[in-house]
């Protein structure tokens, strides 16, 4: 198959990349653009570890054709904060021990960011609902919910 060029805004920077037409956004991010924060857990939309934001909406990047990102705005975990300037969600996940093996963390944090950007004062139930598509097998969900609630509280106090 002929390769095609896709152009999108990636973490604030206009990016053009030559891809195979049927490649997923996750494959293009990880294997063409070498952004490895976005994880591959199932490749079938079941685990949420590949969650990124497309135009601020959480998207399973393993199920989205990269070609569809053309002209859109894509945000990955690398785009929201790096040490020492971490996003409040990253700091809270670190402080609350909300990452154990860490493999689900990028997807969890991106799904949480999508929620808080739209609804800065969610209830615990709303947070859980927003993370319903993200699976964790080690830490359990309590620490993750606690971390996100910490950020909600910080934003209320600020």
């Amino acid at each position: 198959m002929e390769s095609i060029t896709v152009t999108f805004k990636l973490n604030g920077k206009t990016t053009a990349v030559a891809i195979e037409p049927l490649e997923s956004l996750r494959t293009v991010l990880r294997e063409h653009l070498h952004l490895h924060a976005t994880k591959a857990g199932c490749g079938q939309g079941g685990c949420g570890s590949c969650t990124v934001l497309v135009n601020d909406e959480p998207v399973l990047s393993c199920l989205m054709l990269a070609a569809l990102a053309d002209g859109q705005e894509v945000t990955t975990l690398e785009g929201i904060g790096t040490p020492p300037h971490m996003h409040p969600l990253q700091t809270a996940f670190f402080d609350r021990f909300a990452a154990q093996c860490g493999y689900c963390s990028p997807g969890m944090i991106m799904a949480a960011k999508a929620l808080l950007d739209k609804n800065p004062h969610p209830t615990r139930a709303e947070i859980a609902e927003a993370l319903a598509g993200n699976l964790c097998r080690c830490t359990g969900y309590v620490a993750i919910l606690d971390a996100i609630e910490d950020v909600v509280t910080q934003m209320q106090e600020a």
Partner: protein, 450 residues
């Protein structure tokens, strides 16, 4: 010296790898890419049991983009040897099957290609000539005289000191059960459980100019993996530069040394870096699981709650091959009586082979299953004789100084104190005689069997 003066104990410590995890900078094995890296896909058995008459990989070999095909004859020592050092013998599992297949999904040959998609496409072109045999899928059937014998040593169980099960005998069960006020039986079973780590198995191997192999592994046991890979490759272990320690979830599911040897062989054969990453389907359906277990309890209990006799028959499903199961059944046997002082115990624990996906290590394997059955049985006993759940456990809990059925004297017991603390935490007021119990009251006031 008090705890506070130690400075470390009791202090909260930040995780060293935490910042990497939350910022996506931690490098997992699937994040490793090398220039010129090849991809590996495994051709697996489509059936549960059969005899291999032929493996024709010619079409796959000729497929554009395929660089190598790895079969059993490429494996210097074609045995998974993972527990030979602790006496789990004889070796029973080939790294790549060549004579027979024993479970659906058993690895047969590996396709190594320029891309993952080409490797997958070419793998589908391998023609397998396998004569299907009736599979053994049920444990009770496997140990019955009617079952086909699937293991080369002549029966379908692991052999423990010449017996087809691990025996534990303590006191005189047969005599004690006659004297019991109640005989209380219970059946308990668990299905196999998949660890389902979010990160699937993955291995990347790069051949180095000096002849060494750089091995990126998500094993939970790096040195164990190095030793076993060296034994399978028949190379000195210093030729393997193992890089690991970052695991995207393991839970016991990543200790079987299941990707590294093949990936190493593929890298040696092609002279290029190779990556083998499992699909979610492979992780769920081909990787080892916690064993399915069936346990039957027969307990002799007195009106005052004392358990004076316990007999357990347990079947653990190892699946097609040993992996860690014979060792798991050993632990299982020791834990089947539970943390209770019972003077007459009889345990028969079987490690049974079937044509199912092998079971292996998973979080307290052997022990967790026994605990589930023991505590269900304690509840059954309590309800049958009309005693409450706290009392039945506290009066039978083992005490320091007592002999356990495995002939080990109890030391540092904390069961009674833990139960008492649990009661306090949930605001339950234990009666005075239970509050007064202690792990040190054996031979004194509280120990029923003292």
């Amino acid at each position: 010296m008090g705890v506070k003066q130690l400075g470390i104990v009791g202090q909260s410590v930040k995780r060293r790898d935490g910042i990497g995890h939350v910022t996506g900078q931690t490098q997992y094995v699937d994040d490793v890419f090398y220039t010129g890296m090849l991809w590996l896909k495994m051709v697996r058995s489509p059936i549960s049991r059969g005899i291999i008459h032929g493996i024709d990989a010619s079409k796959a070999e000729a497929f554009p983009g395929v660089v190598a095909v790895v079969t059993a004859k490429d494996v210097p020592n074609n045995w998974y040897t993972i527990l030979c050092l602790i006496g789990v013998e004889p070796n029973d599992e080939p790294v790549l099957a060549h004579e027979e297949v024993m479970y659906m999904g058993e690895p047969i040959c590996a396709i190594v290609a320029e891309t993952e998609a080409i490797a997958a496409e070419a793998a589908a072109l391998v023609k397998l000539d396998i004569e299907e045999l009736p599979p053994v899928l049920d444990m009770e059937f496997a140990i019955s005289p009617d079952a086909p014998v699937i293991k080369k040593w002549g029966n379908n169980t692991f052999m423990y000191d010449g017996y087809n099960h691990r025996k534990l005998r303590f006191g005189d069960f047969e005599k004690a059960i006659q004297q019991a006020d109640h005989v209380i039986e219970g059946d308990y079973s668990l299905s196999p459980i998949e660890h389902a780590p979010i990160e699937t198995h993955c291995c990347v191997v790069k051949p180095e100019p000096d002849g060494r192999l750089t091995v990126h592994s998500n094993t939970q046991a790096l040195y164990f993996t190095m030793d076993n890979t060296a034994i399978i490759l028949q190379v000195p272990s210093q030729r393997l530069h193992m890089i690991g320690g970052t695991v995207g979830g393991g839970f016991g599911g990543k200790v079987d040394v299941i990707t590294e040897p093949i990936t190493c062989i593929a890298a040696m054969k092609t002279g290029r870096p190779v990556k083998w990453r499992w699909t979610r389907e492979e992780e769920m359906r081909k990787s080892s699981t916690r064993a399915g277990v069936k346990m039957h309890y027969t307990d002799g209990v007195m009106n005052d709650g004392r358990i004076i006799a316990r007999k357990v028959r347990s079947l653990e499903d190892a699946g097609a091959y040993h992996r860690h199961s014979p060792y798991g059944v050993q632990k299982h046997m020791a834990n089947l009586p539970g943390p209770y002082t019972i003077p007459n115990v009889w345990v028969d624990a079987y490690c049974v082979y079937t044509n199912r996906q092998p079971s292996s290590a998973m979080r307290g394997f052997g022990v967790t299953e026994a605990t589930f059955a023991v505590e269900c049985q304690m509840e059954r006993i309590a309800r049958t004789i009309g005693m409450d759940s706290w009392e039945i456990r506290l009066i039978n809990a083992y005490r320091n100084g007592q002999m356990r059925p495995v002939r080990k004297v109890v030391e540092d017991a904390t069961l009674i104190e833990t139960i008492q603390a649990a009661a306090e935490l949930i605001g339950y007021e234990l009666p005075a005689h239970l509050k007064a119990m202690s792990s040190d009251d054996y031979g004194g006031k509280g120990g029923h069997h003292g």
